[in-house]
């Protein structure tokens, strides 16, 4: 079994590691070597078995460079959205497909490799400070391979109107590729931005994405973060999002998980100063034998912090999903509010969901609510629609769509909302009919 760890070690040895960050990479690799992949005896990995990832020999080193045509990239772009775009193909930064010239003042968007060369001070201050290598072997593994990825720095008092679209595009290449994107987002005081992270698999490629995104929000910063996971159905995706929030800052995290054979999303928000607020929304739609695990954790470290979490799942086929939402209200974090809800719709008898809220409250003046539901399509609604001449299949799709849309319709940014609605409709059995229904 250790052979595959050796695989990553040999990869590591083949890569150039001689910049100022070399020591950190090396230490992280050592950590990963020692711990190995997590096993399901660990509480945190109880429902998700990563042996398929462990057993397969993925490599970070590609012998060939795959090329992607402009059409292929265009097909997955937001057609109605003018955005700043940084594109990675099979984990490698693609200058050709990115549009990073003519950026406004007050914003830096660059490949991590360039940031390592250009922004040493900022990286020294922030990189690896919010995602902890000791928390997950996957984070350590990612740190060992920090090279490609996105560094975004928004200056204080700056409003970035154009959304920033980070596109990770994966395509079949020779051999199974492991990619370890590392993103760092630094939001200055009172700054505002919208960032989209998209992970898209182009064919039925078999690869392993192991991404880590670190976010730090200075006081009064405001970030809307969208993660759209559409990996290929043969791909494995492990994604970490770690956020540190300053006073009166606000983060909106929307995590949409549609693709992947085996997926694990970890989101960790730390409300580290008074007035910080986090909104965590998530939608997962699974089918076939997909396995999608969403683990979230929110730390209310200081008084008067606010969290609202809403996750919804639609499960079909023999798929399995996990939702684990941990909320920790630390000692002295008084007058906080934390609300969590997870709703699941099971469309088949063979689909399975494990949902578990975990509240740990060490303060007394708090307002917390949580709830989880697992259900099937409502028979009364179904009958009502059918009695109104809607055939059964359409009625089912319509109600499924309505269930998922409750999450998406809350997205304030229209181009993203529309795109997501289309994506969600595309997942349904009667896509064409539903589209007809909603596209008036």
């Amino acid at each position: 079994m250790n052979d595959n760890i050796q695989n990553y070690v040999s990869d590591f040895e083949r890569l150039k590691n001689d910049d100022w960050f070399a020591e950190s990479r090396y230490t992280a690799l050592k950590l990963f070597k020692e711990s190995g992949f997590p096993n399901s005896k660990l509480e945190n990995w109880k429902y998700t078995d990563v042996r398929p990832i462990k057993r397969k020999s993925f490599s970070n080193v590609s012998e060939v460079t795959v090329s992607v045509s402009a059409e292929e990239v265009n097909a997955i772009r937001f057609d109605d959205l003018d955005c700043i775009e940084i594109v990675f193909i099979n984990g490698m930064f693609s200058k050709e497909h990115s549009s990073l010239s003519a950026l406004d003042k007050g914003i830096v968007v660059e490949n991590m490799l360039d940031a390592l060369a250009n922004d040493k001070d900022l990286l020294t201050k922030h990189l690896t400070k919010y995602a902890n290598d000791n928390v997950s072997p996957f984070i350590a593994l990612n740190t060992a391979f920090i090279k490609n990825g996105t560094f975004i720095n928004v200056a204080p008092n700056t409003l970035i109107e154009k959304p920033i679209n980070i596109l990770y595009l994966s395509k079949e290449s020779n051999g199974a590729l492991a990619i370890h994107p590392r993103n760092l987002i630094v939001m200055g005081e009172n700054s505002e931005a919208t960032i989209i992270e998209s992970y898209i698999g182009l064919d039925n490629a078999n690869y392993f994405t192991n991404s880590v995104t670190e976010v730090t929000l200075s006081p009064s910063a405001n970030l809307k973060h969208y993660k759209i996971q559409q990996e290929s159905l043969n791909a494995y995706h492990i994604g970490n999002l770690n956020v540190m929030q300053g006073k009166d800052s606000k983060l909106e995290s929307h995590s949409i998980s549609l693709g992947g054979a085996l997926v694990r999303n970890d989101i960790h928000g730390q409300l580290a100063a008074e007035g910080a607020e986090i909104i965590m929304n998530g939608l997962y739609m699974t089918g076939n034998k997909q396995h999608v695990d969403n683990h979230t954790r929110i730390d209310h470290l200081k008084p008067r912090t606010l969290s609202t979490e809403n996750y919804r799942g639609v499960l079909n086929g023999k798929s399995r999903a996990v939702f684990n939402g941990k909320v920790i209200v630390h000692k002295d974090a008084q007058k906080i509010e934390a609300h969590q809800h997870n709703a699941n719709l099971l469309l088949s008898d063979d689909a399975e969901i494990d949902t578990k809220p975990e509240l740990e409250i060490y303060a007394d003046d708090v307002k917390c609510t949580h709830g989880a539901t697992v259900g099937q399509l409502d028979q009364n609604m179904l009958f009502y629609l059918r009695s109104r001449a809607i055939d059964e299949e359409t009625a089912r799709s319509l109600l499924t769509y309505a269930f998922a849309d409750e999450l998406i319709s809350n997205i304030s940014f229209a181009p993203i909302r529309n795109r997501l609605e289309r994506l969600v409709i595309g997942q349904l059995p009667d896509a064409a009919l539903i589209r007809e229904f909603t596209n008036e």
Binding site: N380, F383, Y384, R386, A389
Partner: protein, 249 residues
């Protein structure tokens, strides 16, 4: 139009309809009255095709079809409409889209061309006037957050747009204020013609002042135990049900 003979239906092990007979000809309005729990909504649901009822005996012919063999949507395509006693709220499904899809599903079944957005809007503008339907209700999710009366009015609005051949109104008058009752009644009356049949389930003779029925039936304990003309409703209003029940027993 509709011919029900010796209909028996169960929910689980409980027999609710126990040999019900009813014949409704084209153009007729039939009122069905009867004590709570006697099986009126059960009859309506069985006719509309709701799951969970076990028809153990009897036949239901609708036009030349065996109604019980059809799926609920097929019954709707064939012109049957049920205005629910308790219309369900469907968050996320838009009222107008539903109605447009419904209209076009029926048109498709009849081999007519489907209406486009403009034609459809033209059609509903008319109908909205008849039932004094408010604009903002139209664009909300189906019945979501509607008041009790608004839900009932929405049912009648849908009915007037769909122009069914056989409409079953299950206590549409319950919960309506006096003005709404008039409006709804006018909506129903405007649909009355020699081809269309209507079954009104109601507890109140007042509705029948506005919509004059051709026949009045008393449904008790799963059977029609008495039938008559409009005067029967007046008699029931005055004397209640006990005297008929005793006679029937």
């Amino acid at each position: 139009m509709l011919n029900i003979q010796n209909l028996h239906a169960k929910i689980g092990n409980k027999e609710i309809l126990k040999g019900l007979n009813l014949n409704v000809n084209a153009g007729e309005v039939h009122a069905i009255m009867g004590p709570n729990g006697s099986g009126k909504s059960t009859l309506a649901n069985v006719l509309a095709g709701r799951n969970g009822y076990d028809v153990t005996k009897g036949i239901v012919e609708y036009e030349d079809k065996n109604l019980l063999e059809l799926a609920p949507e097929e019954r709707a395509w064939a012109g049957l409409f049920l205005a629910f006693q308790y219309p369900v709220e469907i968050p996320g499904v838009n009222n107008v889209y539903l109605l447009k899809a419904a209209v076009n599903a029926v048109r498709k079944y009849r081999g007519e061309t489907e209406l486009d957005a403009v034609e459809f809007l033209g059609l509903i503008k008319e109908k909205m006037k008849i039932v004094k339907m408010k604009d903002d209700l139209l664009n909300r999710s189906v019945n979501e957050g509607f008041s009790g009366g608004e839900k009932k009015r929405n049912e009648i609005f849908q009915m007037s747009v769909l122009e069914p051949k056989l409409a079953i109104l299950d206590e549409t008058d319950s919960g309506l204020d006096i003005d709404a009752l008039k409006i709804v009644s006018e909506g129903v009356n405007s649909l009355r013609n020699e081809e269309r049949s209507i079954i009104l389930v109601t507890h109140y003779q007042r509705l029948l002042d506005y919509i004059k029925p051709d026949h009045v039936h008393v449904l008790s304990n799963g059977k029609i135990i008495k039938s008559g003309g409009p005067e029967l409703a007046l008699e029931l209003e005055e004397k209640g049900y006990d005297w008929i029940k005793e006679k029937a027993a």
